[in-house]
C-alpha cells in the first residue's frame, strides 16, 4: 500500500515538473519579456538592469530553478497587461471561480446520481426514456450554447435572472463570497446550471450504465433469492457496487469543471480566473497564462492523486493486491 502511494506521488511530482518546464519556457521564449515590460521608451541601461533583475543572464537550469522556487513561494511574476503581481490578481478572482465550481459540482453529482439510479431502476418507464433522450442533447450541445440559450430564455424573454456578473458580494477576510446576498445567489443559478449540465449528464449516464451492469450480477440474484427487499437490494447492494467505479471517473470529471469554467465565465462575464485566462490569451499576457497553467495542473494532478488513493481505500479487493493495479 505504501509503495503504491509513494509511486503515485512520485508520478504526480514528475508531471508537475514537466508542466512547470512548459510554463517556464513560455515565459522565457515567447515574445520578449523585456520588451513587454518596459514598453517603447527604454534605455540600454534599463534593459540591462531588468535583465539582471529577472536573472535572464543566468544559465537555463538556474533560471528554471529560480522560477520554480518563486512559484512555490507564490511569486508568479507580473502581468504584462495589468502591471500587477499575478499572484494577487489570481487571489482576487479565485473565490468567484471556486464558488461557481463548487455549486455546479454538487448539483451535477446530486442530480446526476439520483437520475442515474432512477433511470436504472425504472428503466422501461416513460420518464426514463424521456430523460435519456434529453441527456443525449445535454451531451451533444456545446456549453456556451447552453449558456446563451439559458440567457435568452431566462434573462431576455422572462427577465427572471441576471445575465452577467456575480451580483453583490460580501467580503470575508480575503474571500469575496456571493452566497450571502440575494442577488449573489440569483446570479449563481444560470452559470452553475450551464457549467454543471454537461457533467451532470455524464454522471447520470455513467451511474445508469454501471447500475444496470451491477443489477445483472449473480450476487444481486442471490440477494433476491434470499428474499431481501427491493429497497435493500437496490440501495444497500447495488448502489455501493455502482459507486465504486463511478467515483473515479467522477472525480476526474470534477477536476475539469475548473477548466470548463473558462467557457461559462466568458458567457456570463463571471469575474473568475477562467475569464482572466481568456483575456490573457487575447492579449498574450504570458505570465498570467503560465500561472493559470500551473495552478490548473496542481489542481488536476492533486485531484487525480486523491481519487486514486480514495479508490484504493474503498474497494477492499484492491487493498489485498498491493499496488499491482494500474489506474
Amino acid at each position: 500500500m505504501l509503495a503504491y502511494v509513494i509511486r503515485r506521488v512520485f508520478q504526480s511530482v514528475v508531471v508537475l515538473l514537466v508542466v512547470g518546464l512548459v510554463a517556464f519556457s513560455m515565459f522565457r521564449f515567447v515574445g520578449d519579456p523585456i520588451e513587454n515590460m518596459l514598453g517603447q521608451e527604454r534605455t540600454g541601461a534599463d534593459i540591462q538592469r531588468l535583465r539582471t533583475q529577472l536573472g535572464l543572464d543566468r544559465p537555463f537550469p538556474v533560471q528554471y530553478y529560480r522560477f520554480l522556487a518563486n512559484a512555490v513561494q507564490g511569486d508568479f511574476g507580473v502581468s504584462y497587461r495589468q502591471g500587477r503581481p499575478v499572484a494577487s490578481i489570481i487571489a482576487e478572482r479565485l473565490p468567484a471561480t471556486l464558488e461557481l465550481a463548487a455549486v455546479s459540482g454538487v448539483m451535477a453529482i446530486v442530480v446526476g446520481v439520483a437520475l442515474g439510479v432512477f433511470t436504472a431502476i425504472r428503466r422501461d418507464g416513460m420518464a426514463a426514456h424521456t430523460i435519456m433522450t434529453l441527456s443525449l442533447i445535454g451531451v451533444s450541445l456545446p456549453t456556451f450554447l447552453i449558456g446563451i440559450l439559458l440567457i435568452y430564455l431566462f434573462s431576455v424573454e422572462l427577465n427572471w435572472l441576471p445575465s452577467f456578473g456575480r451580483g453583490d458580494v460580501v467580503q470575508i477576510g480575503w474571500w469575496r463570497t456571493g452566497f450571502l446576498t440575494e442577488s449573489g445567489l440569483k446570479a449563481l443559478i444560470l452559470p452553475s446550471i450551464t457549467l454543471g449540465l454537461y457533467q451532470m449528464t455524464l454522471i447520470m449516464r455513467l451511474v445508469r450504465s454501471e447500475m444496470l451492469e451491477v443489477l445483472r450480477q449473480d450476487y444481486i440474484r442471490f440477494a433476491r433469492a434470499r428474499g431481501l427487499s427491493d429497497r435493500v437490494v437496490h440501495f444497500r447492494h447495488a448502489l455501493k457496487n455502482t459507486l465504486v467505479p463511478v467515483i473515479t471517473i467522477t472525480g476526474l470529471q470534477l477536476g475539469s469543471i475548473i477548466a470548463f469554467a473558462i467557457i461559462t465565465e466568458t458567457v456570463f462575464q463571471w469575474p473568475g480566473v477562467g475569464l482572466l485566462f481568456i483575456n490573457a490569451i487575447q492579449f498574450v499576457d504570458i505570465p498570467v497564462m503560465a500561472s493559470y497553467l500551473m495552478l490548473i495542473s496542481v489542481m488536476f494532478v492533486g485531484i487525480n492523486l486523491i481519487v486514486d488513493l480514495l479508490y484504493f481505500a474503498i474497494d477492499p479487493r484492491l487493498r489485498a493486491e498491493r499496488g499491482t493495479a494500474e489506474a
Partner: protein, 323 residues
Amino acid sequence: MAEPVLSVRDLRVEIPTRHAVLCPVDGVTLDIAASQILGVVGESGAGKSMTGNAAIGLLDPPARIAGGEIVLNGKRIDNLSRERMRRIRGKEIGMVFQDPLTSLNPLLPIGEQLTETILEHLPLSRREAEQRALNALEEVGIPGAADRLDSYPHQFSGGMRQRVVIALALCAEPSLVIADEPTTALDVSVQAQIIALLKRLCRERGTAVMLITHDMGVIAEAADRVAVMYAGRLAELGTVREVLTAPSHPYTVGLMASTPLAAKGRKRLIQIPGSMPRLDKLPSGCAFHPRCPKVADRCRTDPGPTREACGGRAACWFAEQAA
C-alpha cells in the same frame, strides 16, 4: 405418507420471443418430501435450472409460468404477488447458486450478508441475529468463525465460499433448498466435502432438497431420488438405485452408457448420436425420437407421452410398468 414439501404439477414455462413461443419446461411433475434429496439431472438447456427458478419465483422476464401449479407445504406459490413471493424466498425456500465467487457481494463482509438475511426473515434483535450468523458459519464448518465474520468474500477459498453460500441459504431455516449446480465451479477434491455438508445439514433439519446438476456422479453420491429431464420434459423419475442401475427411458439408458461411473466393466463409453434439440426446433411427438434406438411410428406423432400416461416412471411407450 406425509405431505411432500414441494409438489410440482404439470409445470409449463414459456418464453415469448420475436419469432415463436419457446417452452423450456413442459409438463414437469415431481414431489420432494422432507429430508429427501431429489436430483434433477440433464444436459445443459434441458430445463433443470428453469424448473428451479420457477419454483423460487426468480424467472427472468419475459420467461413466465404458463401452466401447472407449484405447491409448497400445502400452499400454492406460483400465483402469489411479488411481495408475498419475496417473503417466501429465503424464509421457506433457500437457493444455492453455482459460482460462489459471484454469488457474494464483494464489498460487504459476509457477517453482514448473513445478518441482513436473518433480520429480514426472523424477528430477532441485531445481537441475536449476529449470534445466529456466527452459529451458521460454525455449522457449515468455517474454522475460526468468530474472526471471519468481518472477512470479505475474496478472502475465502472456493470451497469455503460455497460453505458460506450454503450458510446463507439455510440461515432463515427454509423447508426447501434448491441447489443449482452447487459443485460445478469447485475443485473435485472440494466437491465431495460440499455434497457431504449439504446432505448432513438437510438430514439434520429435515429440509427437502432439489439438487440440480448435470453430473451423474453427484447424483449417485447425494440424491435419494432422481428426475431426468430432456428438452424441457421429464423423461424419467424414480429412486436413484432404480434409475441408475435399471433405467427405463431410452435416453436414460443412453446417459448411463455414456457415463464412466455407470459403465463399469465396459471398455468404451457409448455416445448417444446427435444432440439435444434446440427449443425452437423441437421434434413432434416425443422430443427424443430422432435419436432413439427404439423409435416407433407412434413416437413421432403423439404429442409426447407423459409419465402418467405410460403408467410408470418413464415417459416412454416402451417403458415397463414400474411400481
